[in-house]
C-alpha cells in the first residue's frame, strides 16, 4: 500500500533514465514497440490489479454494506463510516497507533542517522561492514518470527528479566508484554529492533552520495562530528530521511503482524491498533462492512500522515 509503488506506466517512462540520449528517436519507436512494452508489463500489471487494486476496490465496496461474510449483504450507505468516527472503542486503537509512531518511526530514524554517520566514518574498515550487517540482520527475519522470539525474551521467566535479575535490578523485572504500563513500549522496542537496520542502510547509501569534498571543506573549517552532521550530512540525506519516515510511519500506522504475534492487542486494549481491530471485526465479529470501513479510514489516516512528509522532502529536492 505504499503510495509510491505505482505500476510501471509503459516503456516510455522507464526508458528515460537509462537511454537519455535517444530522446529523438523515442517517439517513433513507441508506435512500433508500444504493444511489446505493454506485453512485458502485463504480468506485473495483472498481478497488481488482481492482488492490490481489486482487494482495494472490494474493500471500498464492502464498506457500504452490513455483511457477515457469508449471507446476503445489506446496503447501508455511510452508516459504517459514521460508526467508525463516533464509536469511542475505535478511537483507542488509533491513539495507540500514534504512540507506536514514536517507536516505529521517530526513534529508528533518529538512531539510524546516528548509526549511519558513525558507520560512514569507519566505512572503509572491515568493522564498518560488520556493523552494517549486524544492524540490518533483523530486517531479514520474518516479522512473525521476530514477534515470537521477543515474546519469549520479554516473558517473566525470559532472558531480559534474567539479565535484569543478574545485575540486581529484579525490582523492575516484570512480564513486559503483559503489563499495562510497558506492553506498548515493549512492542515498540521490537519495532525499533526491526526497523533500525532498514533506516541505517538506506541513510548510509544517502551519505555515500555526498561529495567527500564537502566533508573535507568542513573539516578544514574545524567542524567536529556534530557540526559536520548538522551542516553537511543532514541536508545531504534529507530525501532518504523522507523515505525512511514514510516507510516506518506506514509500518506503525498499519501495524499488524508484530502486535498480533507478541501481544494480540492486550493486555486489555493496551496495544490494540487499527490493524488488530480490523481483524477482530472482520473475522471474529463477522462485521465485514464495518471492518472494511475501518480499513478505508486507515488508508486515509496513513495518507494524511505520509503526504506532508513526501511533500516536504520533494520540495526540498528541487
Amino acid at each position: 500500500m505504499k503510495p509510491d509503488s505505482q505500476p510501471p506506466t509503459g516503456p516510455a517512462s522507464s526508458d528515460r533514465p537509462i537511454l537519455p540520449r535517444r530522446r529523438v528517436g523515442r517517439r517513433r519507436r513507441l508506435d512500433g514497440s508500444g504493444l511489446a512494452g505493454w506485453l512485458f508489463a502485463a504480468p506485473a500489471l495483472i498481478m497488481y490489479g488482481l492482488f492490490v487494486l481489486q482487494p482495494l476496490l472490494l474493500t471500498i465496496q464492502y464498506s457500504f454494506y452490513n455483511w457477515d461474510g457469508v449471507g446476503p449483504g445489506e446496503w447501508v450507505g455511510f452508516a459504517n463510516y459514521v460508526r467508525v468516527f463516533t464509536d469511542p472503542d475505535l478511537l483507542g486503537p488509533i491513539f495507540n497507533s500514534f504512540r507506536l509512531l514514536i517507536f516505529f518511526s521517530v526513534i529508528p530514524v533518529t538512531l539510524g542517522v546516528v548509526a549511519a554517520s558513525l558507520i560512514h566514518r569507519i566505512a572503509s574498515s572491515r568493522f564498518g561492514s560488520a556493523a552494517t550487517t549486524v544492524i540490518f540482520l533483523p530486517q531479514v527475519i520474518p516479522l512473525v518470527a521476530s514477534g515470537i522470539i521477543w515474546g519469549w525474551l520479554l516473558a517473566r521467566p525470559g532472558v531480559v528479566n534474567q539479565v535484569l535479575e543478574a545485575i540486581g535490578l529484579e525490582r523492575i523485572a516484570r512480564a513486559w508484554l503483559g503489563d499495562f504500563g510497558t506492553a506498548l513500549p515493549a512492542v515498540g522496542m521490537i519495532g525499533i529492533w526491526v526497523l533500525l537496520g532498514f533506516c541505517t542502510v538506506l541513510l548510509q547509501t544517502g551519505m555515500a552520495k555526498i561529495d567527500p569534498e564537502l566533508y573535507e571543506a568542513a573539516r578544514l573549517d574545524g567542524a567536529g562530528w556534530w557540526a559536520e552532521l548538522r551542516a553537511v550530512t543532514l541536508p545531504g540525506i534529507r530525501y532518504e530521511i523522507g523515505v525512511c519516515l514514510t516507510v516506518t510511519a506506514i509500518a506503525a500506522l498499519a501495524a499488524f503482524d508484530i502486535v498480533y504475534v507478541s501481544t494480540g492487542g492486550g493486555p486489555g486494549r493496551a496495544t490494540t491498533v487499527p490493524g488488530i481491530k480490523i481483524y477482530i471485526e472482520a473475522f471474529l465479529q463477522r462485521r465485514v462492512g464495518l471492518a472494511s470501513a475501518l480499513a478505508v479510514a486507515l488508508v486515509f489516516l496513513v495518507l494524511a500522515v505520509i503526504l506532508p512528509v513526501q511533500r516536504l522532502t520533494r520540495e526540498d529536492r528541487t
Binding site: 464492502y62 449471507g71 492486550g266 473475522f283 465479529q285
Partner: protein, 476 residues
C-alpha cells in the same frame, strides 16, 4: 472442549496462516456481498420448517430412501471429506479405527488450527467441496446462513433422541437463533468437564487431605499456600490464549447462584443478563483472589500451554482446567495429579462444572452426509471407539444411558469421569461463558479480566462491560 482448543490454537504457526486466510477470503469474496447471497444459500438444504423439524416427512428423495433402511456408509467406496483440528489426536485415531472396521471408507482429512477453522468455516461450508465432517467452533450464525445439515432425521433414525438429552442440548438451535432447543445441527464426539486439578505433593504440604467441600475451605487452602510461599493457583490470561480467569470466575458464579441463568445467557435467550447479583458476588470473590496474589503476577502474559507446563513442573498447587488436558498431565505427573469439582458455597450444595461437546457438524451440501452421520453414531456406541475416546480424548464419550463408560488407562481420567457422573446426576452442566457469542471471549471477557488483573477494572465494571459487549454483538 472448545475453550481449551481455542487457546491452544493461538500458538505459533497459525498466525502467519491467518494472514494468508485473510488474503484468501478477500479473493474468494470477489463476487461481492450482494451476489454472494445467491450462490451461498445452499440450495439443497431445506430451511427448517416446523414440519421438517418434527417429522420424517418427505425431505429430499435420498433422505427418505435412507430412512427406509437406515443411513450407513453402504458398501461402495466412500471418501469422507473432513476438517479436523491440529494438535488433537482423538478424531484422527477414531478415523483410523473406523476405516479398519469399514474398509470401504477412506478419509481425505485436512487439518488446521482451531482459530483458523473459526475464520474459515463459513467459506468451507459454502464452498464447492462442502465437507462431510467438520470441527465446529460455533454454530448459530452457520445455521442462520443455512450452511449446516439439519440432523433431526438422523437423530430419529439412529435413536439419538432416546439418549440422555443434556448431551444434545448444546447442539440444538431454535428458529429464533437461540441455542439449547430446536433442531439438532451438530454432534459431540465426546463431552468435556472442567474443575480443579491439583498437585498432590504440594497439596500435602498445605495440609489438604481431602478435596475442599465448600468455597470457604478452598479459600483457606489458597491462603495457606500463599503463606508457605507456594503459587496457589496457576493460570493463563494472555490475549492469544484468551482470558483463562474466566474458568475460576464461572465456577464461582455456579457456586454463588443457580446455573440456569448462566446457560440462558450462553444460549442467547432473549433478555438474558450476566450482570446478576450472584454473579457480581462471584466476580468480587475473584477480584479478592487477584488482590490476594493467588494468581501468578505475570498471569496476563501467560499462555495456555505455558501455564500447563509450569503446573506440570510443580509451580502452582491448583489449576482450573478441563479433562482434555488429562493425557498430558498423566504423562508428566502420573499419580501426582488429582482432580476435584469446584465446591459449592455451602456443603452439599449444587455441584456444577463447565461441560461442552467436542462439536462436529455436516455441511448442508455434503455428498456423504449419511456416512458422516453413521460415523457419529458409531463413535458414541462402538466399544472400540468409546475406548479410544476415554484413552486419547480423556472425556466422556456420551451416547446411550445404558452403555458403560470404559475404564481409562490414565488414573486422572477415571477421576474426571467419576466427577462427570456426579455432575450429570446433579444436572450441573454449563456451557462456557466464553462461547456465548463468536467474539465475546476476545472482545469481552479477555480484555476485561486482564484489566481486572491490572487493577483497572472492578467486579461490577467487568460484568457491565461484558453485558454491553454481548448486547452489541447480538444486535448486529
Amino acid at each position: 472442549m472448545p475453550w481449551g482448543n481455542r487457546r491452544l490454537a493461538w500458538r505459533g504457526a497459525f498466525r502467519s496462516r491467518g494472514i494468508l486466510a485473510l488474503v484468501a477470503v478477500l479473493l474468494a469474496a470477489c463476487v461481492g456481498p450482494g451476489a454472494q447471497s445467491t450462490t451461498t444459500s445452499a440450495p439443497e438444504q431445506p430451511t427448517t420448517t416446523a414440519a421438517e423439524a418434527t417429522g420424517t416427512t418427505q425431505d429430499s428423495p435420498s433422505t427418505t430412501e435412507m430412512l427406509a433402511e437406515g443411513p450407513s456408509c453402504g458398501t461402495e467406496e466412500v471418501v469422507l471429506n473432513a476438517y479436523f483440528e491440529t494438535g488433537f489426536d482423538l478424531p484422527f485415531e477414531l478415523a483410523d479405527e473406523f476405516s479398519a472396521q469399514f474398509p470401504n471408507v477412506s478419509w481425505d482429512i485436512k487439518q488446521d488450527q482451531f482459530t483458523n477453522l473459526m475464520n474459515a468455516t463459513p467459506r468451507l461450508l459454502s464452498g464447492d467441496n462442502p465437507p462431510d465432517l467438520i470441527r465446529l467452533p460455533s454454530m448459530v450464525s452457520l445455521v442462520h446462513d443455512g450452511l449446516l445439515k439439519n440432523l433431526d432425521d438422523y437423530a430419529a433414525a439412529f435413536g439419538w433422541d432416546q439418549w440422555p438429552q443434556s448431551q444434545l442440548l448444546q447442539n440444538r438451535v431454535a428458529e429464533d437463533g437461540t441455542r439449547g432447543s430446536g433442531s439438532l445441527y451438530a454432534m459431540g464426539l465426546n463431552h468435556s468437564l472442567t474443575g480443579v486439578f491439583y498437585n498432590k505433593e504440594l497439596a500435602d504440604q498445605i495440609g489438604m487431605t481431602e478435596p475442599p467441600t465448600t468455597v470457604e475451605e478452598f479459600d483457606a487452602l489458597l491462603a495457606e499456600a500463599k503463606a508457605r510461599g507456594l503459587q496457589p493457583i496457576m493460570a493463563w490470561n494472555a490475549t492469544a490464549s484468551g482470558g483463562g480467569l474466566a474458568f475460576p470466575l464461572q465456577h464461582l458464579m455456579a457456586a454463588y447462584g443457580p446455573i440456569e441463568p448462566i446457560n440462558e445467557w450462553i444460549f442467547q435467550k432473549p433478555g438474558a443478563n450476566i450482570n446478576t447479583e450472584s454473579n457480581l458476588a462471584a466476580a468480587e470473590h475473584l477480584q479478592r483472589w487477584i488482590e490476594a496474589g493467588y494468581f501468578p503476577e505475570d498471569v496476563n502474559a501467560i499462555e495456555y500451554t505455558d501455564a500447563n507446563a509450569r503446573f506440570r513442573g510443580g509451580e502452582g498447587v491448583f489449576i482450573f482446567n478441563g479433562d482434555w488436558e488429562n493425557a498430558v498431565y498423566d504423562g508428566e505427573m502420573g499419580d501426582n495429579v488429582g482432580f476435584f469439582l469446584f465446591p459449592p458455597l455451602e456443603e452439599g450444595g449444587q455441584l456444577a462444572a463447565m461441560s461442552a461437546p467436542l462439536t462436529f457438524g455436516i455441511a448442508a451440501g455434503a455428498p456423504n452426509a449419511d456416512c458422516a452421520a453413521f460415523f457419529f453414531n458409531w463413535v458414541a456406541t462402538n466399544e472400540a471407539a468409546r475406548q479410544i475416546n476415554v484413552d486419547v480424548g480423556g472425556s466422556n464419550p456420551g451416547g446411550p444411558a445404558d452403555l458403560p463408560v470404559p475404564p481409562a488407562s490414565a488414573p486422572i481420567t477415571n477421576e474426571t469421569l467419576a466427577a462427570g457422573a456426579e455432575v450429570a446426576k446433579a444436572n450441573g452442566q454449563m456451557d462456557f461463558i466464553a462461547n456465548a457469542t463468536g467474539a465475546i471471549f476476545a472482545e469481552g471477557w479477555t480484555p476485561e479480566l486482564q484489566e481486572m488483573v491490572g487493577g483497572l477494572q472492578d467486579a461490577a465494571g467487568l460484568l457491565e462491560a461484558v453485558q454491553a459487549e454481548y448486547e452489541s454483538q447480538l444486535e448486529r
